[in-house]
């Protein structure tokens, strides 16, 4: 291509748009359904109930340690579908691009999205590109939607936590949020931080194979672990008691949080999940999580209890007790 940046014409449906699709996108996102270049994807579905989810992605910076907006847009929707207990199979990918975005950046984002889809074993089967004038969006916004199939006998929902269930967490918390935060703010911190952006559907498959009786699955993205637990407690009308010492936090994340006055319980994750599992099944599900490369640090962090319905209670490291509330508004760095 002659130009090095995306132009308004690339989104105008003419020659440039066609070339962008056929020369840049198709080779990267290679699959037969997409290659048909229909107005929509046409496909057969396996039997079963379906899960359908959509999410839009905007992140600064576009590229960060551990990922980019490209793989984030795939992982995020794959994970949302997987948290319904479904096996994600198809994705849509829609780009809204600010004119002037370097084509090299676009190519890199698409390659990341394609690699993420391949890793998650989902196909990007339909898409769209719009280019808008400078300032109308911040470089690139991405929307993805995902479709998945739920196996028979699997019933997952935020309202399905039962008293006695064990609460399992798949690994360290706060990695994504603190990576983005420290990148964005030019803090000049030399911390080994890396986003945990990853597709969780394979781990979910292993977990459901270990026990189809899992009641709740949730990926604690924005709002973090604390907010996700509060939502479950509220939706299920139960109390949740967790142990601070059991919640793994990397030292670099803990350090960055301390510096900025953040609570890791409220920092975003993009490759972690929590599950509420009947007690008799918890050991098998935990073992299944640990057998997945993304769940090596999985652990039991607490229990679903009858008292204080709707509330999450934390036993602190020193044996004290406090409540965990939902995050209210974005955490803002404090003064001293």
């Amino acid at each position: 291509m002659e130009t090095h940046t995306v132009l308004l014409d690339h989104g105008a449906g003419g020659k440039l748009a066609h070339r962008l699709t056929t020369e840049l996108m198709l080779p990267i996102l290679d699959n037969p359904i997409l290659a048909a270049l229909h107005d929509g994807a046409v496909f057969d579905l396996p039997p079963g109930r379906l899960a359908f989810s959509t999410d839009s992605y905007t992140v600064t910076p576009l590229f960060f340690p551990g990922g980019s907006i490209g793989d984030l847009a795939v992982h995020g929707t794959v994970n949302d579908v997987a948290m319904c207990g479904a096996r994600p199979i198809f994705l849509s990918l829609a780009l809204i691009i600010e004119e002037g975005l370097p084509l090299a950046d676009l190519e890199r984002i698409l390659r990341d999205a394609a690699a993420a889809a391949q890793r998650a074993e989902v196909a990007i089967v339909t898409g769209d590109t719009k280019v808008v004038p400078r300032g109308a969006v911040d470089r690139i916004f991405i929307n993805t939607a995902g479709l998945g199939v739920i196996a028979e006998g699997v019933h997952i929902g935020g309202h399905r936590a039962r008293v006695g269930d064990r609460v399992l967490l798949s690994g360290t918390i706060g990695d994504h949020g603190m990576t983005i935060m420290t990148q964005r703010r030019e803090l000049g911190l030399d911390l080994p931080l890396q986003s945990d952006s990853a597709p969780l559907n394979h781990m979910v498959r292993r977990m459901l194979a270990a026990s189809p009786r899992i009641g709740v699955l949730r990926d604690p993205t924005r709002g973090g672990l604390g907010t996700a637990l509060c939502e479950i407690a509220e939706q299920s009308g139960v109390g949740i008691r967790i142990h601070e010492a059991a919640v793994p936090v990397r030292p670099a994340v803990a350090g960055a949080c301390e510096l900025l006055g953040f609570d890791p319980l409220y920092v975003a994750n993009e490759g972690k999940l929590i599950a509420a599992v009947p007690p008799q099944d918890a050991p098998a599900v935990l073992a299944a999580m640990r057998s997945d490369p993304l769940g090596r640090d999985a652990c039991e962090i607490g229990t679903v209890v009858a008292d204080r319905p709707g509330r999450v209670t934390l036993t602190t490291r020193i044996g004290g007790e406090r409540i965990v509330d939902m995050l209210a508004g974005e955490q803002l760095p404090r003064i001293c």
């Binding site: 006055g261 602190t316 406090r322 509330d325 803002l332």
Partner: protein, 363 residues
């Protein structure tokens, strides 16, 4: 790595031993006040209150810099943000503090240029990158932040960065303690003194206050064992009736403080009377730039039209900051005033007492 050093002060066994020591020694009901937002948050986050006997009541004093900033100053920040050609740089927790008519977050939403920085020095870079704009840093904070702001002004002067200025709203802790102790309605039996501030000013800076009033004061660190150790010292002083100024944070705080930081403050700043939310005007409790650096004072550079400052109706922040009331005793708490839609500053800052109660304390 400093974190590893902190781990030993988070040791559950050590915390249990200290809590036990406090339970054994504490007889008289006492009210202890911490004067540092970071202490407030640490106390709540560690669930430390649940380990203390009923005899001990912990109060949060005027230790959150955002919370004690006067309404007129908040209004000035908003007015600066509304001024044509101005970029306001600020620490994050000022963004949501409600002024009389607006706040910084809302102004940013309206297209005003308000940028969150982590250090005053970031403002200099922004000033360099925007030579045709005025960059104003909102100088809020205690002795912990004042030296870095002084250093920033000095650097701006040396580099000739003329489009940079500071709105000086810094405050100093010892005069506020003095004022608190003089207030009849403030009944405090002992103070947990702020660790970070004390790193700068040193333990001796509190000497005259505590010698005058004969109240126990102990400088405390921020880990659970630091705080429990300091509380144990306060309880022992009270039970043995020998109030004194003591340092339970000697690994960071010395008698004389940080001479370099203090010298920098002295070179560039001078004490002025300052208005505190909840405490009123306290003599010599603020800092402004000395005459030689006064051109960097945003108040001299901009003529601001300010509304008659009105503190939110029914808001008890003023009384909460002096320990006269606790957040659940405010009629607005959890009803009209929440972190999502805060009425008063104590609900805004992550280190505010009301926000800590809301977030960590069950009713």
């Amino acid at each position: 790595m400093p974190l590893k050093h902190a781990e030993e002060y988070r040791d559950p066994a050590l915390a249990r031993r200290l809590a036990e020591r406090i339970r054994q020694r504490s007889r008289r009901p006492v009210r202890l006040m911490e004067v540092c937002g970071t202490h407030t948050v640490s106390i709540f986050r560690s669930g430390l209150r649940s380990l203390l006997p009923d005899t001990i009541t912990l109060l949060s004093g005027p230790g959150c810099p955002v919370c004690v900033t006067a309404q007129a100053d908040i209004d000035a920040f908003v007015a600066l943000a509304q001024t044509e050609g101005v970029i306001v740089t600020t620490f994050g927790d000022l963004m949501r503090v409600p002024g009389t008519r607006s706040n910084l977050l809302r102004e940013r939403g309206r297209g005003r240029d308000v940028r969150i920085v982590y250090s005053a020095f970031d403002s200099l870079r922004i000033a360099r990158e925007n030579p045709d704009r005025q960059v104003v840093f909102l100088g809020v904070g205690f002795e912990t932040t004042a030296p870095t702001v002084a250093a920033t002004v000095q650097a701006a002067a040396q580099a000739g960065i003329a489009n940079f200025s500071v709105y000086p709203a810094h405050k100093t802790v010892p005069p506020a303690l003095q004022a608190l102790l003089a207030m009849a309605e403030v009944a405090v039996d002992g103070f947990l003194l702020p660790g970070h501030v004390s790193v700068i000013i040193g333990t001796e800076a509190y000497r005259s206050v505590f010698d005058t009033h004969g109240v126990p004061g102990v400088v405390a660190g921020f880990e659970p064992a630091d705080l429990l150790g300091a509380i144990a010292m306060l309880v022992e002083q009270i039970e043995e009736n020998r109030p004194q100024l003591a340092n339970a944070y000697p690994r960071a705080v010395c008698d004389q403080g940080n001479p370099k930081a203090l010298a920098l403050m002295k070179t560039l700043m001078r004490p002025v009377d300052a208005a505190w939310r909840g405490l009123g005007v306290i003599a010599g409790s603020g800092l402004e730039l000395v005459e030689a650096f006064a051109t960097f004072d945003a108040r001299r550079r901009f003529v601001l039209e300010l509304p008659e400052p009105q503190e939110p109706k029914g808001c008890a922040c003023g009384q909460i900051l002096t320990g006269a009331r606790t957040p659940p005793q405010c009629p607005l708490f959890r009803t009209r005033c929440t972190p999502m839609d805060p009425v008063g500053p104590c609900m805004v800052s992550s280190e505010g007492t009301c926000a800590a109660y809301y977030r960590y304390h069950a009713d």
